[in-house]
Symmetry: C2
Subunit: 360 residues, 2 copies
């Protein structure tokens, strides 16, 4: 995998040229059908990579070589800097903060309260967060905010944990706090280095864009994203500090699934049921990543059209196919395993169904 | 168009068999690219039909023959029964109620207040609405509800106007109110008749499913949906009562664009800017319909994956290509014409761009 990927990190590699990934390129298979009555109403195409921690391909569906913005799917990789620099230890952070650094959280009171206390610990305020202000993720969390009478702040943004993690590193390493989201800032350069080591690719000249929370997002082939996720679970070839940091991050996510996302969220429910065996992480635009620690595998899914419902359906099916869903977990995850579409009066009128594109 | 469509209303027609519309079928073209930085991050495939009121094809992209659930895209057609039966006149309804019968509204106070008064007029209550209870559509309308301290009711559901219209017809024609959403109920049978006449198809044996609001939704080829929308604008071959009802519905939508959807909504903004020239109507799962009255055209769009952002981008481009967007309207619709993707801190980081699948 590593060598293979290096080929694809070259700037002039055809797969990296966005315009050439259009109509001429092979079409990704349909992974998910959305059924209403007995008709297919909508369909989702996409690609999947499952790679082991030595770079061997376990499963490859569709285009896994063109660059993909992994978005929040790789927050657990980005959180490595917080732990391996010693910043987390220096500021006395626990699993809660480390899990929040890996999170796309709901912005419920619990999440926000921990972020605010943490900001205080490092001598920062919500004004230092450059993620932007946004409403909490779910209707319930929004209503919780409205009930307080307060306005949303940067702390409610789903990326505020990741950003507070960045600020913690900046404080610890004496980087300037202002502008920490800019590509040229040493914080982002450090993250780029971590990402290069974990994906096995040179990324300095990879496609770049700005994520929803203002930091650079880097275009990485899906196979290499999966490889990085596998190495988070089994960092056998990484330096000692990173091995320890990977262990710390896995433990934190498994101990605090609520802080990784929140009530009713897919990530929280799956990690809550399966622990380190399936550390799943959502990203925007139809990305889903996972570290399957026991299997020493990494998973990366990208739905072409950006659909989260499809990415979730594919992820749960992959976990099933890998026999990771225990009988006990099955009971907890039932409505994720066979996602129904209900009318608003609560009648089952359809379902989200895995298509032939995913082998069973 | 009419004859052609009749072929496709046969039960054993291959295009009607859901399983055969899968991987073997030709793949719809990419209509919309979602760009981040200078890379295509996501893409949306789909099909488009523009048909004139005599059934001539003006534009056909992708598969326009397989059945599609038009969902709320054809509410203006479903509202015909309210007017042409004389029910609207009998209960003294004005443009506000007729526009709400065609609406997928935000559930803001204005919408809900009119629905409640209207229910009173026909001797019904919110309990008679079988659409189900749901929260208002937008965050702003949700917050408006929370501020009242009340819980959401059936009146807040985006389909409550259409359903109150159904109840009005039931009262006027002495149909039982209970069960008015069932396929066998005379209300739904009457709607099926209207739909058959307007689409030029026999639909009794067409694919059927239950819509989000509990009524039957019928699988209709995209071309025939567009044909029905064209006839709403130019019902030259329809009975006198229907011609008058079509006029009434067009006038109501053009006079009350806020009631057709609500603040910040695409339908409201486009109708507000263009009036009867572009009576656009959103549907779930990536459907968008329009009656282009002056051009005597009907439009139907279906995005394969169900994306609304893509359907909106395609609709506005079609209106542009047909020279319907006046200079004055251009100013009002600027951010719909070139939809930007912003970071949450407000920086422009990408755009939703029409792909080669749509001719310019």
């Amino acid at each position: 995998m590593t060598d293979h990927s290096h080929e694809h990190s070259e700037k002039d590699e055809p797969n990296h040229a966005p315009d050439q990934a259009g109509e001429g390129a092979p079409v990704n298979p349909v992974l998910v059908d959305v059924i209403r009555g007995d008709m297919i109403e909508s369909r989702h195409r996409g690609s999947v990579a499952i790679i082991d921690s030595h770079g061997q391909v376990e499963l490859s569906i569709g285009d896994v070589l063109s660059p993909v913005f992994a978005r929040s799917g790789i927050k657990p990789i980005q959180a490595l800097a917080l732990v391996e620099t010693g910043a987390a230890r220096a500021f006395g952070l626990g699993s809660a903060q480390v899990a929040l650094a890996c999170s796309s959280h709901n912005g419920a009171n619990t999440h926000v309260d921990i972020i605010r206390t943490w900001l205080g610990k490092i001598g920062c305020t919500e004004d230092d967060l450059e993620c932007g202000t946004s409403l909490p993720w779910t209707d319930e969390a929004k209503q919780e905010l409205y009930a307080t009478g307060e306005a949303a702040t940067t702390a409610h943004d789903n990326c505020s944990g990741k950003h507070t993690g960045f600020l913690t590193v900046c404080k610890h390493l004496d980087f300037s706090v202002q502008g920490y989201t800019r590509f040229e800032h040493p914080m982002q350069q450090r993250l780029l280095g971590v990402l290069e080591q974990m994906t096995g690719m040179q990324l300095f000249e990879a496609p770049k864009a700005i994520d929803g929370c203002g930091i650079p997002t880097i275009g990485i082939p899906l196979g290499n994203i999966a490889f990085a996720m596998a190495r988070l679970g089994d960092p056998h070839d990484q330096p000692k500090e990173r091995q320890e940091a990977c262990r710390r991050i896995r433990t934190a996510m498994a101990h605090e699934p609520y802080l990784v996302a929140g009530k009713d969220r897919f990530c929280t429910r799956v990690i809550g049921a399966l622990g380190q065996a399936a550390l799943v992480k959502t990203g925007a635009e139809g990305v889903y990543c996972a570290t399957l620690t026991d299997k020493k595998l990494g998973v990366a899914i990208k739905i072409d059209d950006g659909s989260r419902r499809a990415a979730e359906a594919v992820m749960i099916r992959l976990l099933q196919n890998l026999n990771l869903i225990t009988d006990h977990a099955k009971g907890q995850l039932l409505n994720l395993l066979e996602p129904a579409i209900q009318s608003r009066a609560g009648k089952m009128v359809g379902l989200v169904r895995i298509a032939d594109g995913i082998p069973s």
